[in-house]
Symmetry: C2
């Protein structure tokens, strides 16, 4: 396995490490925003799914009732 850890190399200054640290912090902040958006999308899609399932059940009830009416006729 390859170790992707950052390691001290000759000539790596604290200022350079600090720059990388701040770059990573910005990446994490962007990813947090993106994840929040995705969570909202998932929540919304689950609500839509529940609504559609309920509408389907309603249609099935109507179809059953309709079949009963025809039998009586």
């Amino acid at each position: 396995t390859v170790d992707h850890s950052y390691s001290l190399t000759t000539g790596t200054t604290s200022a350079e490490l600090l720059k990388k640290l701040n770059e990573q912090r910005d990446i994490i902040a962007l990813m947090e925003v993106k994840m929040k958006e995705m969570k909202n999308t998932i929540r919304q899609l689950r609500i839509t799914e529940a609504r559609l399932q309920e509408e389907l059940r309603e249609r099935d009830r109507m179809l059953s009732a309709s079949a009963v009416v025809r039998k009586k006729i």
Copy 2:
């Protein structure tokens, strides 16, 4: 506004910066895995939504046909 940037403070060694850098790298890796999972969930929920919409349309066609039959009777 508060600046959350990391900054050099007295006594912050390169070794400490490096440790933080590797911690952040691990956080980013975990977030990438989580985002991939969420993307798959969203894709799956969209497929389910499309299927339910199609089933609803089918039920509505059946209900229309059923209404026509009753009118003829």
